[in-house]
Symmetry: C2
Subunit: 174 residues, 2 copies
DNA sequence: TATTGTTATACTCTATAACTATA
DNA sequence: TATAGTTATAGAGTATAACAATA
């Protein structure tokens, strides 16, 4: 998954120096690139948010594999545990999932004995999703594992920076 | 892609009304969930970064569609334009892509006349990738469009907050 | 008529193994 | 032997259309 990019050697060159290199290269060596300049992409929030998310998800997949949970499974199970009786439709709206893609996931969680489906008290069309004791026990461990790896992946941030980052990201998608 | 969550019918209930419903539900209706609690997920950087990234990418796909560019195409073309002569391997290392997935992408960009492949001056195995004038002209417009939509999607942030957010995200994945 | 949940299905994205040509 | 690029392919993730049951 992660191809570790190695540190750039010329990252501390000034723009002027870099331009001069490019001009001189244009004479003797018009094609070779020493260091890849990604300064423009790094000004884009979408690019940076995606790279950061994938960097965390990569470790998430490894650490949560023993629980048989991928990111979407995890978010669904966590939401069911914190909201017993929630419906599929509510999960879709909350987690930005599509109903057809949730069907197999719910069936899988049910067949593993992690959740139960009960009739909804007010709406005969809907089905309430409830965690089983087994599911709850699993998620206590899974959430702890997730929280731990998150702290590792954000180790370069102070607690205040971490809190700031969470709040600013929510300003984008909420 | 974007499931525009349509406004829920109960979304305009007052907090007081909502709380009253919840209390009454707690007695007579133990299974129905009024509001979905996502406070735990919101403490996870991976969750928030992914949601923010997808929120931006959703608009990115719409706005960049006229240019025939998806996020990865865009990042590859942008990197080629800012680094004429860059190789596929360098693109993979820089953008965290896998070589086999880049092959078809490069061929597509070449067949569209946006880039040219030239022999690498020092390494007979490698191929230098160069933007054509057509490709450069396209990317000037595409980057401007991307920058504009990014500013829209981060409109709730002050310029200082935006700068902070970019720097903190890079602390995670770089 | 609108909504919940479902089925079937297609499309995109990403990942792995193996090959070639060159260093 | 190691690396750049490629081929073929498999798997996961995400998308749309249409249907049955209920409101």
């Amino acid at each position: 998954m992660a191809r570790t990019p190695r540190p750039s050697k010329a990252a501390d060159k000034t723009p002027a120096r870099r331009a001069a290199d490019a001009r001189s290269a244009a004479r003797t060596d018009p094609c070779a690139v020493e260091e890849v300049d990604t300064r423009y992409l790094q000004t884009l929030m979408g690019y940076n948010a995606r790279r950061a998310a994938l960097s965390i998800i990569e470790v998430f997949l490894e650490r949560l594999a023993p629980f048989g949970l991928k990111p979407v499974d995890f978010s669904v199970m966590s939401t069911i545990c914190h909201n017993p009786g929630v419906t599929s439709r509510q999960l879709c709206n909350t987690l930005n999932l599509l109903p057809p893609n949730l069907v197999g996931l719910i069936q899988s969680l049910e067949s593993r004995g992690l959740i139960e489906r009960k009739p909804h008290p007010h709406d005969g069309r809907a089905v309430g999703l409830h965690p089983t004791p087994k599911g709850q026990a699993l998620m206590v461990q899974a959430e702890q594992t997730a929280t731990e790896l998150e702290l590792e992946k954000t180790a370069k941030l102070t607690p205040a920076q971490r809190k700031t980052l969470l709040a600013l990201l929510q300003k984008i998608y909420l």
